[in-house]
């Protein structure tokens, strides 16, 4: 591994100052499950690690008037064990459970996963279908945005080099919203996603209300399928509608062709799995 400097600042403000000072040479360190691997194997100009994993501002899971706040440095394991998460956002818990293995989930943080911004980030689709928002802090102060706007491209977020992700907020109205997440990987343990898919919706007077569909690993960033959501909104649930929504998801996706799977197979998975998460969400909505 290359020579590095390691700094653990006392506060978010100090972390931001350090990042601003070192510019491109510095990088925030969260769980490190991706970053340390990169540092070992790829050349690059990062020489200063600013450890933000222990900062109080980025920790904690709590229900507020606005909704459920999850600090960016909360680990997957902490989400999985948290009673509020288990009750109010079970599919975020389910998605967290599919990340790596126990050791990865004990170190890896939900914020780190979003900031790394690989297309296959497992937590992203589950958060997106709940209209999650993210808060960012930096030298220019704080800003908040819908999670979709956070992702810019593969391994690229809206964050400026001096900015840090503070927390994720799931709006109050979406806590407990019927939803479903499915990850398809090449094996069961420690799988990387070929396709991640999540759906959330409600039923009002027998009609689909505020449907959300999000997919991961099928485009340069995790994506919402707005056209399919529009198609379903206000409609009675039917096999035909679900199949059509899934077809739109296929058209809206731009899956890659690589050694893990062909693009055409990924499209087949998108069709099948989108139908499945929609059907499952409907089942939950019907039951509740």
């Amino acid at each position: 591994m290359r020579t590095l400097d390691y700094i653990a600042p006392e506060s978010a403000a100090a972390a931001v100052a350090l990042l601003a000072e070192h510019g491109e040479k510095a990088c925030p360190l969260a769980g490190g499950t991706d970053l340390v691997v990169d540092l070992k194997h790829s050349p690059g100009n990062i020489h200063v690690l600013v450890d933000v994993s222990g900062l109080e501002e980025f920790r904690g899971i709590e229900e507020t008037d606005e909704g459920l706040r999850i600090g960016s440095m909360v680990t997957y394991a902490e989400i999985m064990e948290n009673s509020i998460c288990l009750e109010k956002v079970p599919e975020v818990v389910a998605a967290s459970h599919t990340v790596g293995a126990v050791q990865t989930r004990n170190l890896g943080t939900i914020g780190g996963n979003l900031v790394t911004c690989v297309p296959s980030a497992d937590s992203a689709p589950a958060l997106m279908v709940l209209d999650a928002e993210v808060t960012v802090t930096g030298a220019d102060g704080e800003r908040r945005m819908p999670i979709e706007e956070f992702f810019v491209g593969p391994r690229k977020t809206i964050l400026e080099p001096h900015e840090l992700l503070v927390d994720i907020l799931i709006p109050k109205k979406n806590l407990g919203k019927p939803s479903s997440f499915y990850k398809f990987g090449l094996r069961k343990g420690q799988a990387l996603a070929l396709v991640n898919v999540a759906a959330a919706l409600e039923l009002k007077s027998g009609k689909i209300h505020e449907p959300r569909i999000a997919l991961g690993a099928v485009a340069p960033t995790p994506i919402r399928i707005l056209e399919a959501e529009a198609l379903l909104a206000g409609k009675k649930p039917s096999i035909k509608n679900i199949e059509e929504a899934a077809r739109i998801a296929v058209t809206e996706s731009k899956p890659i062709d690589d050694f893990r799977a062909s693009a055409s197979y990924r499209r087949q998975l998108i069709q099948t799995l989108t139908q499945r998460v929609l059907s499952r969400s409907l089942e939950i909505a019907t039951a509740s």
Binding site: R187, K188, G189, Q190, L192, F259, A261, Y265, Q268, T272
Partner: protein, 335 residues
């Protein structure tokens, strides 16, 4: 939808090298307190070979497993061995050890026969005693026997021997010949589910029944079978080194997909009751054959579940779904 299927595969597998000589040598030394030391040139590579070889030495000398210390893996100290390869250790090295321990035992028989007023061929080594065949109450402890042989008779109980499985050259034109001295047999049956919309194969259970001759240590044989099956599962469904212009593109454990604990099904392992008179106490071998029939059983179960024949391994979900869709298209074309 998930479709259930079951498939079986059986196999045969030889012990040792193909015709080529693959000898082992061994030295057994019995200590004056009735414990023993075994010297072998093989190396423990995880199978528990040294434990099994110690058990074979102990059995020949009438001792318990714990009485034998096994020294291995040092060319300055240990005798020639072809090595941990070709499922040969129990059979070939084991046979050498039996012969070496018999030589040491023979020394004890000769030294103690006069004490017991019998001929050496009337003696056996059993339960840590040298005793008269058919009259076990007339006996001397092995410790005393070694002490006597070494200190009074002046003949320490040491034996060295070699073994090489007898083979017959294969005819270069027809391949006819006797390339191996013995073979093992096995059957595995897989119970699986195939998701016919994603092609994903889930193995629910594998039953494996193997012949290894006498299992010298059944616990270790089970371990070999269970481990072999996991390699078979990877071979069947997941594992493949991929190349682009001669360069490996997945040379890491992130992208080379081998089974994790979540990918392994329940295993039910059985051993066939068998005895090979040419092996040490009837034993043959267990290492490699355990990985042989697994993939075939799984492919047959896939065929049973969804009616497609996978002809190229591994049967990734993508490949299985491709075969299912091809079949559906053919059926539709046929009307």
């Amino acid at each position: 939808m998930k479709k259930r299927g079951r498939g079986m595969a059986c196999m045969w597998y030889p012990i040792g090298f193909t015709v080529a000589a693959n000898p082992s040598a061994a030295t057994v030394k019995v200590n004056t307190d009735g414990t023993a030391t075994l010297l072998t040139g093989t190396v423990e590579t995880g199978q528990g070979a040294l434990t099994v070889l110690g058990q074979i030495a102990a059995e020949t000398l009438g001792l318990a497993t714990d009485d034998v210390h096994v020294v291995s893996g040092d060319t300055d100290v240990t005798p020639m061995d072809t090595g941990a390869i070709a499922s040969r250790t129990t059979y070939v090295t084991g046979n050498a050890i039996v012969r070496a321990a018999e030589k040491a035992r023979e020394i004890l028989f000769e030294s103690t026969a006069p004490l017991l007023n019998v001929k050496p061929d009337q003696l056996e080594a059993r339960d840590k005693q040298i005793q008269v065949l058919g009259f076990p109450s007339k006996s001397i402890s092995i410790a005393d026997a070694v002490q006597h042989s070494e200190s009074i008779v002046g003949n320490p109980a040491i034996g060295s021997a070699t073994y090489n499985p007898p083979t017959v050259e294969m005819d270069p034109e027809t391949g006819q010949g006797k390339p191996f001295n013995t073979y093992v047999y096995a059957t595995q049956i897989a119970d699986i589910e195939v998701d016919d919309e994603t092609g994903e194969v889930e193995i629910l259970k594998i039953v494996a029944v193997h012949d290894c001759g006498t299992p010298i240590n059944p616990m270790l044989v089970e371990g070999q079978i269970q481990g072999g099956i996991s390699m078979g599962v990877g071979f069947a469904l997941q594992e493949e080194i991929l190349f682009e212009e001669g360069r490996q593109i997945n040379p890491n454990l992130t992208n080379y997909i081998m089974p994790t604990s979540l990918d392994m099904p329940e295993l039910d392992v059985g051993l066939v009751d068998n005895y090979d008179p040419t092996g040490p106490f009837g034993a043959k071998g267990a290492g490699e054959p355990t990985a042989v029939p697994t993939a075939a059983a799984i492919m047959n179960a896939i065929h049973d579940a969804v009616g497609v024949r996978i002809t190229t391994l591994p049967a990734t979900a993508e490949r299985v779904l491709g075969a299912i869709m091809e079949k559906q298209e053919l059926e539709q074309a046929a009307g």
